[in-house]
């Protein structure tokens, strides 16, 4: 069997190198090789959003990216959302609005929400629901998630 491929990437701002098989997804590489298990696998075919990460500034489902494709790229995951100063306003808003129950979809929602609010600081409810349509949540019925995103938008506006 052929050997593994060397991948050089930047994850959450840090240079990271790893070896992987070309058939391994970025999600597998993050979880099983790099040890960042915050991104979750819910479907492995791009339909649940639990593995959402940012790849060179765009959110993607990391199950539909090969690890080798991340060579030379910048990856940002849920583990990079909080800072040494504490939780990100989106994370605080999710907690205070009780926007999670089991929590397995939460990393994907937070990464997707961060991308939305950085691009559009004050989205409408409809826009939030459209943006998050690729993230499934089976526990909450989305009500409290949408409210948390609206609350996070206000928190980020107040902080800036």
């Amino acid at each position: 069997m052929p050997g593994k491929t060397h991948v050089q990437t930047k994850i959450n701002g840090e240079d990271v190198e790893f070896l992987c098989e070309p058939r391994q997804s970025l999600l597998e590489c993050l979880r099983d090789i790099v040890g960042l298990t915050g991104s979750k696998e819910g479907c492995n075919d791009g339909n649940c959003g639990a593995c959402t990460v940012s790849l060179d500034g765009r959110i993607v489902t990391s199950c539909l990216v090969l690890g080798v494709e991340a060579d030379g790229a910048e990856v940002n995951t849920i583990e990079g959302v909080a800072s040494p100063d504490g939780l990100h306003p989106i994370q605080e808003a999710f907690l205070e609005n009780a926007a999670l129950q089991c929590g397995i979809c939460t990393p994907g929602f937070i990464v997707a929400t961060k991308a939305l609010l950085e691009q559009e600081p004050t989205p409408s409810e409809h826009r939030i629901r459209f943006w998050l349509a690729g993230n499934l949540c089976r526990c909450t019925g989305y009500d409290k998630i949408v409210r948390a995103v609206m609350d996070a938008s206000e928190r980020m506006a107040a902080a800036s």
Binding site: M1, P2, T5, E21, P22, R23, S25, N44, D45, G46, N47, G49, T52, L55, R58, I59, V60, T61, C63, L64, V65, L66, V68, E69, D71, A112, A115, F130, W131, A133, G134, N135
Partner: protein
């Protein structure tokens, strides 16, 4: 997943060489949103490749160009989000923007390309009827040179296309829109996003003095390939723009559909949807033609 090798060529020549040398066991990779799913679930349906050739760093596959005489050329690997974020495309080709907005959710749109959607050749591929309606052409390069294929002739069956061994879809060209033209793609899905068309209709119209001078209609998910219904568009030529002419074209489109019954709907239901969707698409295309250039 079976073992695969990975290559990332930086030029078109290199990409074509890798694909040609692969002897049918090499497969291009753009966004991967179809290919990786297939490699996991049914690798034999994509030829059980030993090598994937990542074409995202090939310049020709990665650009969007427009001018008023040549029209639009979109590289085959250009992601959906770049298409619907492009103001020229939104203004000149709203039917294409419609389709690019509908494919997948935000995460998928960050990867998936219209070129990949076309090569995947699913009967339900949302961008394909939109491209057919716009009279688009596929620009193909291979070991024996380049050729152009009308998009309506590109797909040859579910998951099958005209590409020969070593051939690669480089880009898609669409003629510049004429004054008084409008286009629209709509599909029907049970949810409001993240779904596969039960049926879809892509249309374009050209209108002069309240009369259709030209029109094209294509359907999704109601035949083994996306279906160009020339007679539906032709029926509008020379007809006044009104509910009657639009209804007639919609019913011609519906009659051309030959859908199957499956988990997404019965044949009867899908045939019915073709009429509804084509009528609705034509109404919006007419509005756009009147409101636009």
């Amino acid at each position: 997943m079976k073992w695969i090798d990975y290559a990332r060529p930086g030029s078109l020549d290199e990409a074509v060489k890798l694909l040609a040398d692969g002897g049918g066991k090499a497969r291009p990779l753009a966004g991967g949103t179809d290919l990786l799913v297939m490699l996991r679930a049914a690798a034999e349906r994509v030829g059980s490749p030993d090598l994937v050739v990542d074409v995202k760093c090939v310049p020709e596959l990665n650009q969007i160009c427009y001018d008023d005489s040549e029209g639009l050329t979109i590289g085959a690997a250009v992601e959906c989000y770049r298409i619907y974020a492009d103001e020229t495309i939104a203004c000149k080709y709203p039917g294409l923007t419609d389709a690019a907005t509908l494919i997948g959710g935000i995460q998928i749109q960050g990867r998936a390309s219209v070129g990949g959607n076309l090569c995947n050749a699913a009967p339900s591929g949302d961008s394909i009827p939109a491209l057919i309606a716009l009279g688009a052409t596929a620009n193909v390069t291979g070991p024996n040179g380049s050729r152009q294929v009308a998009v309506e002739d590109f797909c040859t069956g579910p998951g099958r296309n005209v590409l020969g061994a070593g051939e690669l879809l480089v880009s898609i060209s669409i003629p510049a829109p004429k004054a008084g033209s409008g286009a629209r793609y709509i599909r029907f899905i049970p949810r409001n996003e993240m779904d596969i068309a039960v049926a879809g209709s892509g249309v374009s119209v050209e209108i002069e003095d309240g009369t259709f001078t030209s029109a094209r209609v294509a359907l999704a998910s109601v035949a083994p390939t996306p279906l160009f219904v020339q007679e539906a568009g032709d029926s509008l030529e020379g007809k006044p723009v009104n509910d009657e002419s639009i209804a007639e074209a919609a019913s011609i489109a519906s009659a051309a559909a030959s859908p199957i019954t499956d988990m997404r709907g019965t044949a009867e239901y899908r045939t019915h949807l073709c009429e509804v969707l084509t009528r609705r698409a034509l109404n919006t295309a007419v509005e756009r033609a009147k409101g636009g250039e």
